[in-house]
Symmetry: C2
């Protein structure tokens, strides 16, 4: 039993709630079977003798949750960024995703992606694969080995896509999805879980959404998709779904938009209407706010601060490769930055995101989609990222909150020296320090 108990020593930073960060300097976090037993100034008597992993003077934050990214697009991140969403899909995303029909290519590309994700500050993620079942299984196998907790979706798309990247019709798409769910259940993964992934309304026929809804109810799967990202896309959805009251209503019509038995995460929500916002709140839909992607694809700036302050579920996503950076620390900084520009240029009544708010989004905000995760409070699953800021020297000593703020803006992968998921160390780079 004691084998599964250990303590992490260091300076802990985590969210109490969306307005307050807690700092515990050089304290002990007890991990019992992957679950936090809380933080203590001194090692309690009942835990004397357990292993202490000593990161004195390092900062330790909860593992960050990336609520939205496209694994196959990692190969072209940071390139071809001069187009808007629909042109970018046709020019960059679709041709690249088509390559994953080849398992060799998928293996090579996903190997690079999963290794980098493992070394990033992310511990959990909602991931789009491609429509290819084999390639999706390759990705899931590789992710399982990283120790990261992920939800991965074989993508569904049966209309309005190039012939080289489209399923023949609704039933073949649904059949492939059932085959994929079968394959997943045969693998008995510990870390990697399927999530239903209709690409977005323009790519999915009504017939397909009906079949996916049946699959969702049969297997109790969560759902991920895109929502109200770009004006051109929204206009297109209106044409495609003349009977829908708004974009989100087109998902809701097929029972793929939250409610009790369908945990749902929707990426973007840059232009959600009042009705859409109200429905997301009512039905507990998660919003994956992707500030870098919304900038790179000239989509705009989502009112993420409003969503958070009005009590909607909102987390952050890198949206690789609409976003080019895999770092969720950068996503925090980006979210704050664009919220300032939105305040200045769009709506001075919506104050910019504060650091505690953006940090909350990246931890508990998105983490609750995975259960009790994103915090160090007692009872939470213990995901942790150990940050070494010695590459950022200062002529004077800095308080922990200032050090955290600096790392959010300035860190690169070299600052991440160890990572825990459910109490397991999945990555350590502490040898030469």
């Amino acid at each position: 039993m004691l084998n599964n108990i250990f303590a992490l020593k260091g300076t802990f930073c985590y969210s109490k709630d969306s307005q307050n960060l807690i700092i515990r300097e050089n304290a002990y976090l007890i991990c019992n079977n992957g679950i936090s037993e809380g933080i203590y100034e001194e090692l309690p008597a009942c835990f004397q003798g357990i292993q202490v992993i000593d990161h004195t003077n390092k900062l330790i934050i909860p593992g960050l949750i990336d609520l939205h990214l496209h694994a196959p697009q990692y190969t072209f991140r940071g390139t071809g960024m001069d187009l808007e969403l629909l042109d970018w899909l046709n020019t960059s995303a679709f041709p690249e995703e088509a390559r994953y029909a080849e398992s060799d290519y998928a293996q090579k590309a996903y190997q690079i992606f999963t290794e980098d994700l493992k070394q990033s500050p992310t511990t959990r993620a909602c991931i789009f694969a491609t429509l290819h079942t084999d390639a999706t299984m390759i990705l899931m196998d590789l992710l399982e080995d990283t120790g990261l907790k992920t939800m991965v979706g074989k993508v569904n798309m049966d209309r309005n896509a190039p012939s080289y990247l489209m399923e023949q019709n609704a039933s073949t798409s649904a059949a492939a999805t059932r085959q994929w769910i079968d394959a997943v259940s045969g693998r008995h993964y510990q870390n990697t879980f399927p999530i239903l992934t209709p690409r977005f309304i323009p790519s999915c026929s009504d017939e397909l959404l009906i079949l996916l809804s049946e699959i969702q109810q049969e297997f109790h799967l969560p759902v991920q998709s895109h929502l109200s990202e770009n004006p051109g896309e929204i206009h297109w959805v209106k044409e495609l779904c003349p009977d829908s009251l708004f974009y989100g209503d087109a998902y809701d019509h097929f029972n793929l938009f939250g409610r009790d038995h369908c945990p749902t995460v929707m990426a973007h929500c840059v232009y959600s209407t009042e009705e859409e916002i109200a429905l997301m709140k009512k039905q507990g839909v998660y919003i994956a706010h992707c500030p870098q992607s919304n900038t790179n694809l000239s989509s705009g700036i989502a009112p993420a601060a409003r969503y958070l302050r009005e009590g909607l579920h909102v987390g952050l996503g890198t949206d690789i490769a609409g976003g080019f950076s895999l770092s969720m620390l950068r996503a925090i900084a980006d979210a704050i930055q664009v919220s300032k520009l939105r305040w200045r240029l769009v709506d001075p009544s919506l104050k910019a995101l504060t650091l505690p708010e953006a940090f909350y989004m990246a931890t508990i905000g998105g983490g609750s989609f995975f259960g009790k995760t994103g915090s160090f409070e007692k009872g939470y699953e213990l995901d942790a990222v150990v940050l070494d800021d010695s590459s950022l020297p200062s002529p004077r000593s800095l308080p922990p909150l200032t050090r955290l703020e600096r790392l959010i803006s300035l860190s690169d992968s070299s600052n991440i020296i160890q990572k825990f998921v459910c109490g397991n160390s999945i990555f350590s780079n502490t040898e030469d320090r």
Copy 2:
């Protein structure tokens, strides 16, 4: 003579003009006494036998020019970013700058700054120090040793600043400036040059600006300052200078705004009026566009694309510590990103900056403030940055322009493996590669 001639081999990327990037794959760039002799597919017969520094398959770009940054603020970059300009100056910038009254602190802090600048993609920079003459000389001594080409300014400020960071009056400020110019001339620097640095209109009395104009004319110094950054600041300048037609006119009134004998660089120009823009164009004033700072301090987004396309001089600046990143590659990416948001949110008639345009700004655009620099064409001073992108693996081979685009978005300091200024290697990190 041959000792001063060598060739760089690699894949060169540089601007032909503001609309076109030139790529020369695995070619030879000849450097003769610090000046480019042009790029050749093969080593010309007349250069056979010269040293070839072989960076085959690496990307080589011109050294980047940072037109605006505050060296003393490097210590707190990435922190305290929740305020607008004027509050931020009082809360973060001024208290920190006051510490440079202590030479020991200045030495420690500037040592960190200059070492990081040396390892960044920057080869030339226009730098604000503080009002302290001694600390400014410490900074200049350290910069001289890096081999970087810099213009450094002792800051002038004699009003509207806290007593702990203000010169007594105009004459003491001017006298300290003359004393500083004397000290600089005694050092016989090869790389480091003085630039007159009235902080901004709110900090400088009319009397001071008259004295600085006399000094400018006597010593033929260039000038750097701030212009039209933030609505609150601009409103204040209107109150302080009721007779000025616009902010820039307040500098021009004292002959500190371009024209033939007063090379001038003004940071920001987020809210320049038509009259101000026309005067900057007419008098050849350089604009240092600082996209990250303008975002962090909620200032807004400057119409940099307009300035460039209308033929004004415009370069990029990191504006440490309004900006938190010292990387001019990131400044290129930031400039493109904010120009997209400006297109979407402010003015759909002004198309976003293209990659060639932003790259041009960071090289020739700002480089011409230093003379013939920022390009590899024959006759240019040879500043070069060698980039190794092997830390960004790809499952397929990528063309050089795509590799450059990726590095602009994704590079960190580990991707910079060698740097040349005027043909001298000032930094090399190629041992273990």
